[in-house]
Each structure stands twice: as structure tokens, then as C-alpha cells.
């Protein structure tokens, strides 16, 4: 699998929040073993999707100078499953800083019903140490459905 767990960014405000979408499809290889005859998106990957969305918030908000590495999950509570065919609406909100870590509250919901709620903390790092910042900027344009897609085809 490509370890990209955000398909689209639908709204954001630098330093405050970001909203996005993760589509769950039966062709995801992680559903083969999680679980046989009972495919559900792993809860840890819902946390990963929220953490990646927080990364995009950090990246886009800093002109792709900074990124985030997840260090703590203070709590994550699961209310139900994200199933093949579900579109998971993701939202992360910045919730301050503590001990040098950025704090976030994240919610993953399907059809308006929450599936996971997570409080987590991540460390800001220089993006260029981990990814090519220009590549990351181009990926963000794809997530935002900006260039290179012709406007008439959206």
C-alpha cells in the first residue's frame, strides 16, 4: 500500500484546523488480514489519517518548511467501524502546545456519525529532512484539487 491516508483536503485555516477525506476501499491490501471475512479499517490507521492531516496542516501553514511526527496519543476512542465503501470525514484542530509538542484534537466520522475521536501530540521537524518540500507542495495541490487539474474537468 502507499502510506497516504488522506485523499482530499476540503478546508483549512493555517494554525487552526484542517478537514479532509479518506475513502475506504475493498482493494486496500490491509483489509485482507484486518480481518478475514470481517474487513474494517484498522483503528490505528484512522489515527494515522488524522496525524497525516495534522502534518498537512503544519506543512501548508508553514509554506512547506515544517512537518509533524506523531509522538503521543493521549487517548483514542472508537465508536464504530469504517467499512469498505465508506467515506471517512476527517477533522483536526490545533489545541495548543505542551512540552515542545503540538497538541491536536481529531475526529473521524462516517455519514455524520463519529467513528474515532483522538487527542494526540506531535513534534514539528524540518520537512526538508524527510521529504522534498516541492514534491510535498505539489501533492498538496492534488489534495486540494488545484493545478494540474483543468478547472472544467473538476
Amino acid at each position: 500500500m502507499r502510506y497516504l491516508l488522506v485523499d482530499r483536503v476540503t478546508g483549512w485555516e493555517a494554525g487552526r484546523f484542517m478537514e479532509g477525506v479518506k475513502n475506504v476501499t475493498l482493494s486496500e491490501d490491509f483489509l485482507e488480514h484486518h480481518f478475514p471475512r470481517f474487513p474494517v479499517m484498522p483503528g490505528s490507521l484512522l489515527v494515522e489519517a488524522l496525524a497525516q492531516l495534522a502534518g498537512w496542516l503544519e506543512g501548508a501553514g508553514t509554506g512547506f518548511k515544517s512537518w509533524l511526527l506523531l509522538e503521543r496519543v493521549r487517548s483514542v476512542k472508537y465508536y464504530g467501524f469504517a467499512l469498505p465503501g465508506d467515506q471517512v470525514a476527517l477533522r483536526v484542530e490545533a489545541a495548543g502546545e505542551e512540552e515542545g509538542l503540538r497538541l491536536f484534537k481529531g475526529v473521524a466520522a462516517v455519514e455524520g456519525k463519529r467513528r474515532a475521536v483522538a487527542d494526540f501530540a506531535a513534534r514539528a521537524v524540518a520537512l526538508a529532512d524527510y521529504e522534498d518540500p516541492e514534491e510535498q507542495r505539489a501533492r498538496f495541490r492534488v489534495l486540494r484539487r488545484e493545478a494540474p487539474f483543468p478547472e472544467a474537468m473538476q
Binding site: 471475512r37 474494517v40 483503528g43 494515522e48 506523531l70 503521543r72 472508537y78 522534498d132
Partner: protein, 161 residues
């Protein structure tokens, strides 16, 4: 990727504890993009490894008559800098259990140092549809059939010397 986060079970004691090993070779597909310039094991997959070890311990403890999923994880610390080539040991421990749910904790160690931990993991139980199949999978995944009778020389911490 195969979403299985232990390579071998070293020890399982029903109702009490489990120890397993997991290695992270550079060939893991998730390391290709996480990250392009600096492959690092995603912290959430360490959480997954802890949940899988503790979850299988629940199934093993109840003779595979129950299955379980995670409903809550609290006070989880993750190592964001784990590099390819790491061999970690995952330890899960049941703190409390009844017919309806299990409370567990878990940790991940690399070379004897704790690099990740989860203080509280809650697993609601539900009836297992096919206990024999669960047992077959656990033994197939976890090498339980070939589990030596706790020979210290076979344990990875010893092998690393």
C-alpha cells in the same frame, strides 16, 4: 502490505502475558513513502503492533471462543524515529478481564529499551464465529507450533548479544 505486526510469538501465558517479535525491513512498502528522504517506522504501526499482540492474547486466553476489537487506547507513547532494520519485542499484559471485555497494557522494546508503550487498551469481546480458524491463524502467524520451551538462546534479545 500484509497487516500483521508480529513475526513470531515467543511466549504466551493465558490470561496474563504475551511476548512477540517484529522486524521492520526496508522492503516494507510503507517505508517507501514514510518518508522519501528518511524512512521511519510509523508510530501508529507500533500502536497497531501493541494492539495485535494484546488482542491475540485475549483470543488465546479464551480458547478462541471470543474475538475482540480495540475500543479505547490511552496514554500511548510512540517512537517517531525508528529506522528500517529494527527488531523490536512487543510485550502485552492483561490487567483485568471478564466475559465482556479485557483491559490490557503493552510496550515495545528495542535492544532492551522501551521505545513505545500504551498504558490502557480496552478490548470489548464478541463471540467468535469460528474458533478453530482463529486458532489455526494464530498458530500460522505466530509460529506457536514451533515455539521452543523457552530456550534463552532462541530469544532475540540474547541473539543480539
Amino acid at each position: 502490505m500484509r497487516f500483521l505486526f508480529f513475526d513470531r510469538v515467543l511466549e504466551a501465558e493465558a490470561g496474563k502475558r504475551i511476548r512477540a517479535v517484529k522486524t521492520f525491513p526496508l522492503s516494507e512498502p510503507f517505508l517507501a513513502g514514510h518518508y522519501a528522504r528518511a524512512p521511519r517506522v510509523p508510530g501508529t504501526l507500533l500502536l497497531e503492533a501493541m494492539c495485535q499482540a494484546a488482542g491475540w492474547l485475549v483470543l488465546y486466553s479464551y480458547g478462541y471462543e471470543v474475538a475482540c476489537v480495540i475500543s479505547l487506547a490511552e496514554n500511548v507513547r510512540l517512537a517517531p524515529g525508528l529506522r528500517p532494520g529494527a527488531a523490536v519485542e512487543i510485550a502485552g499484559e492483561i490487567l483485568d478481564t471478564n466475559k465482556r471485555a479485557t483491559l490490557a497494557r503493552a510496550r515495545v522494546e528495542e535492544r532492551g529499551e522501551v521505545i513505545a508503550s500504551a498504558e490502557r487498551l480496552i478490548f470489548p469481546h464478541f463471540p467468535s464465529a469460528n474458533p478453530a480458524e482463529l486458532e489455526r491463524r494464530f498458530r500460522a502467524y505466530g509460529w506457536l507450533d514451533g515455539l521452543p520451551a523457552q530456550e534463552p538462546s532462541r530469544q532475540p534479545a540474547e541473539e543480539k548479544g
